[in-house]
């Protein structure tokens, strides 16, 4: 503080900051990126450990014996599913009742804003079936959920079979302290959304559902099981939920601990852990795993049925069985024992899972990066925005601000509103109409602001663009700061692309080159790159053509996620990030 109270040294510090402003910004940017990439390096990460005492020290034994019988039930379920052409409601109700559960059903229906071509659905009607195992001598205040989706085709029959097998086995045990809800949901996330909204009696997305008849109090944790083969080679844990929310790290630790105990191969992001961290291959493997998590989290969409639980403060994760060509297989009994162990430990919980981290990244299942470690990477990028403002002026910059945001509002509302008109006039389907309208508005926005700006406020001054830049840079800093707090991955990716252009854009740079760079770094192109990059990380690289199609479907999925589950990424980009980017675009073409 002596540094600041001494006018001379203060002057020297400010002098240095102004003189070396550009190099400092470049160094900060490089350091931020380097720091982020360093997070995947094993010596810099922490080993996971169980924080929750109630789950750590208490030993449980797993005795689940009936894997084969569960698979039989799964086959029976498959036959009934085929016969009913959807959810075999009656059969499920009967089967659950015969296992001693209290069984209830919930009907729901939803009309999508436009047809979803990926999953081929528009008018969705379905039924959820759930059975409650009432814990003996418990007053219905706490519950755990185990869910399996009723998927079309031959998927997830084994998961439903195992769910019913576990229900039967759990029912004959006396030690339960929390009710256990066994849920079979139809139409994956839409059914799950209907059930959760019904359970909590809220309606955030305008879905029609019939009210639930039976409840088990406040849900403490949930696991969603996806299993499509009789034997599995490994189990994959999916964490990323709606809006980039993650479950408490203790749930991950629990899964990992039981996989170790029972001897099941477990993965995250479908990538097996390696122990050669000191080799370049080991490092790049960890980096890829972490980057995949970053990309998935940044997308803000639920990556499994568990993703919707997180909004209700219920810790949840999906467990997916993966059957690859490896020789060593795990049978259903072992998977059942794993689930049994996890539920017994969750049953021991005295409080909600709260001891461990909620904000983390995982370079492997046994390692994590906590918020304290990754935030500096973002901080280094964000500080550039605070170093770059020019001296303030007085001119009104309201016009470009308003126009940019109006463009954003148009981008947010018009695609869905105008789909019918578009379908009438162009030979496209509804989905394409929505996506292409969005892209059209996005592109039109490039032309609009600087033209109208010239029209409305006459000739711009030197002072004018500086004020505009000051506002834009501070706007971006606040926007990215808030985003990164809630969803680090999204904030970081946006910062990575938007910060350099925000820092160096002025009307005096080379126009054509700058315009090209700006377009390439715009949010839309960021999404396109992310799609290619994600496919590459998944080791399923795509051609340019396929990538473009994927890009279009990702946009439609984003809009659908917003309408169906209340995902916030699309409104965030349309209403805030894109207008902010337009402000910089404005500066570039300042006359």
């Amino acid at each position: 503080m002596g540094l600041l109270s001494d006018p001379n040294r203060r002057r020297a510090l400010i002098g240095m900051l102004t003189r070396l402003n550009a190099p400092i910004c470049v160094v900060c940017y490089m350091a931020g990126v380097a720091w982020f990439m360093g997070l995947a390096f094993e010596p810099f990460t922490l080993r996971t450990y169980m924080s929750e005492n109630a789950m750590g020290s208490t030993m449980v034994e797993e005795h689940f014996p009936a894997g084969e019988r569960a698979l039989d039930t799964g086959r029976e379920f498959a036959a009934h599913k085929k016969k009913a052409g959807g959810m075999p409601v009656d059969w499920l109700v009967r089967t659950m009742q015969s296992r001693g559960l209290e069984v209830f059903t919930q009907r729901f229906s939803r009309k999508l804003p436009f047809p979803d071509e990926n999953k081929e659905r528009y008018m969705v009607k379905g039924t959820n079936v759930y059975g409650i195992l009432r814990a003996p001598r418990a007053p219905r205040t706490e519950a755990l959920v185990l869910s399996a989706p009723c998927s079309p085709g031959n998927d997830n029959n084994q998961a439903v079979g195992l769910l019913l097998g576990l229900a039967q086995y759990f029912r004959s045990q006396i030690y339960w302290a929390k009710d256990i809800i066994f849920l079979v949901n139809e139409h994956d996330l839409i059914g799950m959304q209907a059930w959760l909204e019904g359970y909590h009696h809220t309606n955030t997305t305008g879905m029609d559902w019939s009210p639930l008849q039976g409840r088990g109090g406040s849900i403490q944790a949930a696991l969603c099981l996806e299993l499509s083969s009789d034997v599995v080679t490994s189990l994959d844990l999916v964490l990323e939920g709606l809006n980039g929310q993650l479950p408490n790290l203790d749930l991950v630790n629990l899964f990992y601990a039981f996989c170790q105990k029972i001897g099941v191969l477990c993965t995250i992001q479908g990538k097996l852990p390696r122990n050669d961290w000191d080799t370049p291959w080991g490092y790049s493997h960890a980096a890829k795993t972490m980057l995949m998590m970053v990309l998935k989290q940044a997308s803000g969409r639920p990556w499994g049925d568990h993703g919707l639980f997180l909004r209700y403060h219920i810790e949840a994760a999906s467990i997916k069985g993966i059957n690859s060509f490896r020789p060593y297989k795990t049978d259903a009994t072992t998977v059942g024992r794993l689930m049994e162990g996890m539920y017994r430990k969750l049953n021991n919980l005295l409080e909600r899972l709260h001891q461990s981290y909620f904000f983390y990244l995982m370079p492997s299942l046994s390692r994590f990066v906590s918020i304290g470690y990754y935030m500096p990477a973002f901080g280094l990028l964000a500080v550039i925005l605070l170093l770059r403002p020019s001296s303030p002026g007085v001119l009104s910059i309201l016009t470009p601000l308003v126009i940019s945001h109006l463009t954003g509002v148009a981008l947010y509302t018009l695609p869905i509103l105008s789909q019918e008109i578009a379908v009438e006039h162009f030979p496209v389907s509804e989905t394409e109409a929505v996506v292409l309208t969005a892209i059209a508005i996005y592109t039109a926005g490039l032309a609009l602001p600087h033209n109208t700006h010239r029209l409305l406020s006459g000739e711009g001054t030197e002072q004018g663009w500086k004020v505009l830049k000051l506002v834009a840079v501070l706007y971006l800093a606040v926007l990215l700061g808030c985003t990164a707090l809630i969803n680090f991955s999204l904030g970081f990716i946006l910062a990575l692309t938007l910060v350099p252009l925000a820092a160096f854009i002025t009307p005096h740079v080379h126009r054509t080159l700058a315009a090209f760079v700006m377009v390439v770094l715009s949010p839309g192109f960021t999404l396109l790159f992310a799609v290619y990059f994600f496919q590459d990380l998944q080791e399923t690289p795509v051609s340019v053509q396929e990538g473009w199609m994927l890009f279009l479907s990702v946009i439609s999925q984003g809009i659908l996620d917003h309408a169906l589950y209340g995902s916030l990424v699309y409104p965030l980009v349309a209403l805030l990030v894109y207008p902010c980017w337009l402000l910089f675009w404005n500066i570039l073409f300042w006359k």
Binding site: M1, G2, L4, S5, Q97, S98, G100, E102, R134, P136, R137, A138, P139, R140, T141, E142, R171, S172, Q173, I174, H200, H201, T202, Q213, G214, R215, G217, S218, R311, Y312, H313, L350, E351, R352, H354
Partner: protein, 662 residues
């Protein structure tokens, strides 16, 4: 919690010890059972009515053996003239007989008061394959404990309770401890409903002036007697319902100033509560039906509830005088799936790991009833050994048929001299029931700021509407928005004909909401009210704040239409289980229904925060204070350019001359 309970018991013992003069015989341990206790009482029955008894040896052994052990250690403590003195027992034990002898002594009675003990077990096979066993032990004592006359002689009535009733001028006392939730949809109506956790409601005599003070003391004493955390009952969870809890016994006091009602939904019930409860029984757990009450089986069940009800009842049909009735009830439901044997059958041995060999020798009636209503031709289940005795009773609005085993008859036990009823199911599992009245309650919404409590009441009667009284008590830290209260049935507003609402005061008293509603036939009535979650002071959080905070069960008191005409006369011959709630009219019966308790999460600070706060504040103070101090104490001066050599020399000369420098 356990340590705390021990402390309570200790406290109680200390009170007992100091207000009694205690002479302890060396062989006091021999007289611990209730049976011998009674004998000694009988032996001294003549000397009971001495008006002002001098301090006398308490050689009879108290009701609770652990207390005695402490008393022995406490040695002789001189008496102060406390109120406890009124119920002293005078006398020495001179004879100890075995249980068989007790029967003979039973006929000897004191001149002024008689008492009578009945025990009864009802077994109701449930359609889900589970089985429901309900014990009732009733002691009726023709005396008036709260009158002017001091009562000092106890026979069958437990002395520890009698003293409490006398000291605190209790008119009616109802206390229940329940572990689990009664599943109306699967099990139908219980004989004695009770909410999960502990429930206590007391009507005091209208002579009591400081009701709140008496209530506070009473809860603490009961806490000691029942080894429960009843001492956590304070003004923040006590209410005075205006209509829902009328006295169950005779008497016309209906001023609810003398009523106190409290629940502790979080109370865990276990062996430590069962043992003192069993000690109140005349036969302890030595003989009669109570031999079945073994905690290892009772707590291996799906539902467990034990209760004590004390109330005044009519002594004769004209109701000229009243007697004091003590009902001890214990309800337990055993689950077929967790019983572990896979066979669909139940026997006394399988349920309780004991069989019956005799009645309690002190009991005037000892019976086992088995509900055979759903099984007239034996197509549902078969019962062995069969009994020729059948009895009918109107219970909960329905006429039920029971097989009766009279344990006072030797023939009941057969050649093996033990009774082990076996109930073997023939049919498969039944479906859910459609009880006329059932309810559901839950918290809606998400996030930690607001929420909504929904209470649903189902009237499944096809054509009759009936009235219910809904009572909900909500702790102050859920701030109810009472203007959002809505009551709807069949999509229409249902206007309550009576509303009693008492708003909460922070940290002082809870919300109390009582409503009289008419439930239309075949409908669901939904009561919703929004609330806001308060932020507590950091010392007010429980040690496990992330578990959540409990909101006690709502109470629905209803007059449900009866299928058959109810018995309105309370003849003494009726089985005990059918005569708990007094019945005033034939067309309907009274029942109570408790909803689920709620678990609500409040906004909880991160309790590792204090550490962070300390670190942060220390840093901020050090840095901020340091620089501020620096700025305040440092003087800033404009540095003058150093003067030239000539000027400096001139100044030296001027200073020597004493003139001001240039």
């Amino acid at each position: 919690m356990a340590a705390y309970r021990c402390e309570c018991v200790g406290l109680l013992l200390f009170m007992l010890c100091t207000s009694f003069t205690v002479h302890i015989d060396a062989d006091v341990h021999d007289y611990t059972t209730q049976v011998t206790d009674t004998e000694s009482d009988v032996a001294d029955a003549e000397s009971v009515l001495v008006p002002d008894p001098p301090p006398a040896p308490l050689g009879t052994g108290g009701k609770q053996s652990p207390q005695e052990e402490v008393v022995v250690e406490a040695e002789v403590v001189e008496a102060e003239d406390g109120p406890w003195e009124a119920t002293e027992v005078r006398g020495e034990v001179d004879d100890v007989g075995d249980d068989g002898d007790a029967n003979d002594h039973r006929v000897v009675d004191g001149p002024s008061s008689t008492d009578d003990f009945k025990e009864e077990l009802v077994i109701r096979p449930l359609s889900s394959g589970d089985i429901y066993a309900s014990f009732q032990f009733r002691t009726v004592w023709d005396t008036d404990l709260t009158g002017d006359q001091k009562v000092s002689h106890y026979r069958l009535f437990p002395k520890s309770l009698g003293q409490v009733i006398t000291k605190f001028s209790v008119r009616e006392l109802h206390i229940s401890f329940t572990q689990g939730y009664w599943r109306t949809m699967q099990w139908g109506q219980p004989y004695q409903p009770s909410p999960p956790g502990a429930e206590l409601w007391v009507w005091f005599q209208d002579t009591v002036t400081d009701v709140d003070g008496t209530w506070k003391e009473l809860t603490n004493v009961l806490s000691g007697i029942f080894c429960a955390s009843l001492n956590f009952i304070d003004s923040t969870n006590t209410v005075q319902p205006s209509a829902s809890f009328k006295p169950l016994g005779v008497g016309n006091v209906t001023d609810h100033r003398f009523l106190r009602y409290a629940t502790l939904p979080r109370e865990i019930v276990c062996t430590e509560n069962l043992t003192p409860w069993k000690k109140l029984l005349p036969c302890g757990s030595k003989a009669g039906l109570s031999v079945l009450l073994k905690s290892e089986k009772l707590f291996h069940s799906t539902f467990h509830s034990q209760a004590v009800h004390v109330r005044p009842v009519c002594q004769d049909p004209q109701c000229r005088t009243t007697s004091l009735e003590l009902r001890q009830t214990l309800n337990v439901v055993f689950d077929l799936h967790t019983s572990g044997q896979g066979k669909r059958e139940w026997s006394l041995f399988k349920m309780f790991s004991r069989t019956l060999t005799e009645a309690c020798p002190l009991a005037s009636s000892s019976k086992v009833y088995i509900d055979m209503t759903d099984n007239p031709q034996g197509e549902q289940f078969e019962l062995s050994p069969a009994t020729p005795l059948l009895s009918q009773a109107v219970v909960l609005g329905d006429r039920r048929t029971y097989s009766v085993y009279d344990l006072t008859q030797q023939g009941t036990f057969g050649s093996t001299r033990s009774l082990n009823m076996l109930l073997r199911w023939k049919s498969a599992e039944g479906n859910m029931l459609r009880p006329l009245l059932h309810s559901e309650r839950y918290v809606a919404g998400y996030g930690l700021q607001t929420g909504e409590i929904h209470t649903l009441m189902y009237n499944n009667h096809p054509y009759r509407a009936f009235p219910v009284l809904l009572l909900s008590t909500v702790p102050w830290y859920l701030r109810l928005y009472i203007h959002t209260l809505t009551v709807t049935s069949k999509g229409k507003d249902n206007k309550p004909s009576y509303i009693h609402y008492q708003p909460s005061k922070d940290r002082e008293r809870p919300h109390l909401l009582e409503m009289l509603l008419q439930l239309p036939p075949n409908s669901v009535t939904e009561v919703t009210v929004e609330f806001e979650r308060a932020l507590l002071k950091w010392t007010e959080y429980t040690p496990d704040p992330n578990h959540g905070f409990y909101v006690g069960s709502s109470v629905i008191s209803a007059l449900v239409p009866s299928v058959v005409a109810m018995d309105t006369d309370s003849s003494p011959e009726r089985p005990l289980f059918s005569s708990f709630f007094p019945c005033k009219e034939e067309a309907s019966y009274f029942t109570r229904l408790y909803t689920e308790p709620l678990l609500v999460n409040l906004p909880t600070p991160d309790f590792s925060m204090p550490y962070n706060v300390i670190c942060l504040t220390c840093t901020v103070v050090a840095v901020g204070y340091g620089s501020l101090y620096n700025l305040l104490t440092r003087t800033f001066q404009v540095e003058e350019p150093s003067p030239g050599l000539a000027k400096r020399i001139a100044n030296v000369i001027r200073r020597m001359r004493g003139v001001a420098p240039l």
